[in-house]
Amino acid sequence: MTMLLDIRGLSRDFGGVKAVSEVDFHMNTGEILALIGPNGAGKSTVLNMISGVIPPSSGEISFENQPMLQVAGHAYASLGITRTFQNLQTFDDMTVVENVMVGMHSKGKSSLFACGIKLPTARKEEKEMREQALKWLDLVGLPDISSRLAGSLPYGKLRLMEIARAMVSGPKLLLLDEPAAGLNHTETAEMSRLFKEIRKSGTAILLVEHDMDMIMQVADRIVVLDQGKKIAEGTPQEIQENKSVIAAYLGEEEEELVKG
């Protein structure tokens, strides 16, 4: 197993508040790593830094041995890092298939001019994009609704559509920000099944999630953050027995207690 993502000394301040401080961890190719912690632990901030949305205050992120801090935000997708968003970022006035086709953007080359006059190369590319998008809609369990407007879809389906949009370009690393938030049990189970399928296809997943059942079921390893610091790292079994993790979660009343 080779190292895919390596994070060292990652920190981020927001106006003097240390949201994330000195976090180190790594990911291997094709594994599912869960990033957990009480509310405000800095999980989403870490994910935003790895996806290039916000720059770190200090620290290093390297992806396939390439330092990522100088890489432009729009280049992440073509390098093989894609993501979904905690508060959905779907294109409501586009159809479902168009939404997913936007995810293929980095795979396309057609220029504005080629698209406008429909050059044969642009048509071919469009057809391939559509086929790939339909294939992924099928894989995430959303067949037959490709021509509906995304804005007319219920929440759970939009979550799945966002995953299809992130997966359609065939990334090496998929970053998921609370993909099960707002889903019911059936939908969550369906989502877990999908993650295992994605791992099988060779894509690694970094999962930020609150649903402990889901995490224990799908994660290969878990990294626990509390107040911006890493407090534990290990297999689901090890994390369940870790005293400092239990303490961190007990401190948060509204959080579910991790049973040891």
């Binding site: 729009h74 970022q89 586009m94 936007v102 980095s106 698209c115 406008g116 006059i117 429909k118 590319e125």
Partner: protein, 339 residues
């Protein structure tokens, strides 16, 4: 052509109307009105790509229109180039200006972008007025040659202009349902999401500016050769706002809307001209008041604009009919994407 299949009846109706219009039994004056509508349509379709699709407001579109007009006028009237070459240069110069403007204001959004494009509009209009040696200043230019399109006549000009409108229309409709069009719409909705899909937000905003500048320049060039005379007056804020009103009335998200908006605003303008003969107090700049009023009403009661609103209305009528026949139909949930 696929485009024609896709937009089906609507597109054929459009072609039919454009082809037969000059032969309708109406005053020949309306043929020149139709030519002017053609110029406006080319500008508004470009503005629709920029504003409705990519979500970048421009209060300086008339400046690109003016740049195109003066470019073609100067190179043909002063340097004797053929009008066809003039039109070509009339697309290149605004494109260069759009590139420079786009680069300079790439990071601006919302009000700041509106202000910057507004300032650009003023600068261009003042520039044209002050550069007397070339543009003739406030007195303007005369003797701008006509376009020889299989000979010179207004009928031929009509068909040339509307052939170009059709090209611009088909180009833009094709663009909309392509990688680039989706990128525009994605940027409009969420720059963060667009970036994470690999869309270079800055460069696509820039290309939206350039393409809208090219269209406006082309329309300007045609305008100059059609009018034969030019002065800087029609290339200011007033005209920019008029273009914006056309796009908003038709429906910002719809390319067809841009065209319909140009037709509607010009039609109202003509109606006001006719009414003026009967109603004395309609003198002065009534157009502006009426357009402003329409803009306010549209934004208040029909913010999506005429074309998307009517499309939704037709759709609901269809659904009602089907429901009346007692048909269960999943298709009813399907709605056509933005056209």
């Amino acid at each position: 052509m696929k485009v024609i299949n896709k937009w089906g009846k609507g597109f054929f109706l459009y072609l039919f109307l454009v082809l037969i219009f000059p032969f309708l039994p109406i005053d020949e004056y309306y043929r020149s009105v139709a030519i002017i509508i053609g110029f406006h349509s080319i500008v508004t379709i470009g503005l629709c790509l920029l504003m409705g699709q990519a979500g970048q407001i421009s209060l300086g579109q008339a400046a690109f229109f003016g740049l195109g007009a003066y470019t073609s006028a100067v190179v043909t009237a002063k340097y004797g180039l053929s009008p066809m070459i003039g039109l070509l240069i009339a697309m290149i110069i605004p494109a260069v200006f759009a590139y420079v403007l786009g680069r300079a204001i790439a990071g601006l959004q919302g009000y700041y972008l509106a202000m910057a494009t507004l300032a650009f509009g003023f600068i261009v209009q003042i520039g044209i007025t002050e550069w007397e040696s070339v543009t003739g200043g406030a007195n303007g230019m005369i003797n701008i040659p006509q376009i020889a399109f299989f000979g010179e006549s207004e009928l031929r000009m009509y068909y040339l202009v509307w052939a170009l409108v059709t090209c611009v229309l088909v180009f833009s409709l094709s663009l909309l349902h392509s990688r680039v069009g989706r990128a525009f719409r994605a940027i409009h909705k969420s720059e963060v999401a667009a970036t994470s899909m690999g869309i270079n937000v800055r460069s696509f905003k820039l290309s939206a500016f350039i393409i809208s500048g090219i269209f406006a320049g082309l329309a300007g060039g045609l305008y100059a050769h059609f009018m034969g005379i030019l002065d800087p007056q029609p290339f200011g804020l007033h005209e920019s706002i008029k273009f914006l009103t056309m796009v908003v009335i038709g429906g910002m998200t719809s390319i067809w809307g841009a065209l319909i908006g140009a037709v509607v605003i010009n039609a109202i303008s003509e109606i006001l001209t006719v009414l003026r003969e009967y109603i004395p107090f309609l003198h002065g700049d009534v157009d502006t008041i009426v357009f402003g009023g329409i803009l306010v009403l549209i934004v208040m009661f029909m913010p999506e604009g005429l074309v998307p609103k009517s499309a939704a209305f037709l759709q609901s009528m269809k659904m009602k009919k089907k429901a009346a026949r007692g048909e269960e139909d999943d298709q009813s949930m399907e709605r056509k994407a933005t056209t």
